[in-house]
Symmetry: C2
Subunit: 249 residues, 2 copies
DNA sequence: ATTTTATTATGTAATCTTTACGCAAAGTAA
DNA sequence: TTACTTTGCGTAAAGATTACATAATAAAAT
């Protein structure tokens, strides 16, 4: 027994009988169908959007649904999420992260189905959609309605996750073109967080973090003075990112 | 169609045929057994501990396992996690939160089992264990070994979650007695984060947050000058907690 | 009773960060 | 040319963090 266990010999009892046939054990467990749902965020015209399709269930006729699929029998969860993305959008180089599992017994009209929600971020401009089955389209996150299943709740949770996460991690750059102006970056933060930020302080903050590479290039075809273009230095970020957040709540 | 959908009528196709029999649909899905595993953290003698039992599988004989159980057929995920906690420890007023779902197809020797990991925090002193089946005991998190399944990985993820979370949320107070000294609070942070903190600045930080209630009571039976006791003002925290974190990474 | 020791409690100065602004320069449109 | 918008740079005040100093209190040792 490891030295870390603080045993109480008077009370503690070892397992009654060890199970040998683990296969029979697992076969005796009730099983539940598992799906993966992808909340795919994009950013266009200064609006945060999410990719949705029409539900193909009669009882949700006309309603919108997340991109999802059944988990393959030998598939990893992450693997399945990347597969859903690839099958439904044709894209495979996209940010993706598990956010939360939803298991309300009544969430699917056909019986219990548990879904693992993944959040994904992509640049709408860079990744042109090539598949349009089931009216696959971008919808503004702020004005969603007519969602099938519990997908409004799933999106709400992923949106909250994104709002928090984008403040502490360089997620924004997955939603922007590779070359972006500081104004575009600020518009993205303002749209996602729903706040107004001071232009000059925002700029100062990002320059002080020192992860932006000045490309010495300028915006084109803008109806005003063109801004400088930057790209994010992911290599430098990986080496220098904050380890210590600090106690504060 | 909602005004938020940016349709491309040339390419977009509605669902081919709507599914009416959702029950048959769900019944056709492959199903996977689901378990809930609870990573229950406690704090004792300035060491972060986790509650474990002996595995009752022959192939993991002598190895340690998280407290878990199969998800009931009509049970919510959170509900099942609270049930596991109550059944295995006799406690029901404990902090609990979903952290991550683990679905590696090879993680269980008896076949595919997906587990939803919950993180739980409790005060070892306040909640005396009353059930000791399967050698239920506290183990120091830092020196774990001989874990069954992928439970080392599950604990690692929950520990990382805790390290981050405790800096931004008042979780610490679930691990401490209701009345605590600032020294105890600091010891807890130092043990969980694995850092040394300056006593004077730590104290200043917590006083400036202004969520500690000075009980005008003092420690007893300590072999030195007794420190003042405090409790955490959860009501005030709920009203005044930070909404805006700030961009920083 | 006095001294020693450990620990609590409070303070302060220097540095860094955040916030709230001001203003000149560059490009577009009247 | 002039007005307008937006970029880009700057600065001063307030606030937060860091590093370190010292007095006060209680227990234990002399």
């Amino acid at each position: 027994m490891p030295n870390t266990a603080t045993l109480n010999p008077a009370k503690s009892k070892p397992p009654e009988k060890l199970i040998i046939d683990t296969g029979a054990l697992v076969a005796s467990y009730p099983a539940v169908p598992i799906t993966i749902d992808c909340v795919i965020f994009g950013f266009e015209e200064n609006v945060l959007k999410v990719l949705l399709i029409r539900s193909d269930l009669k009882c949700y006729e006309g309603k919108w649904s997340l991109l999802g699929d059944i988990l393959g029998e030998t598939e990893q969860l992450d693997e399945a999420a990347y597969r859903v993305l690839l099958q439904r959008t044709g894209m495979n180089d996209v940010f993706l992260q598990q956010v939360k599992t939803f298991g309300n017994p009544g969430r699917h009209p056909g019986g219990r189905v548990i879904t693992v929600a993944y959040c994904s971020l992509l640049n709408i401009r860079h990744h042109e959609l090539k598949i349009y089955d089931n009216e696959l389209h971008w919808h503004a996150v702020k004005t969603l309605e007519n969602m099938a299943f519990d997908h409004q709740q799933v999106i709400d949770e992923c949106y909250k996750w994104l709002q928090k996460r984008i403040q502490e991690h360089p997620l924004a750059f997955n939603l922007l073109p590779e070359k972006f102006s500081l104004r575009e970056l600020q518009n993205l933060y303002e749209a996602i967080l729903g706040v107004e930020l001071d232009r000059r302080n925002f700029r100062k903050k990002f320059f002080s973090m020192d992860f932006l590479i000045d490309l010495e290039e300028y915006e084109e075809n803008v109806p005003h003075r063109p801004g400088k273009l930057y790209k994010f230095n992911f290599e430098k970020y990986e080496l220098n990112k904050k380890k210590w957040i600090g106690i504060d709540f």
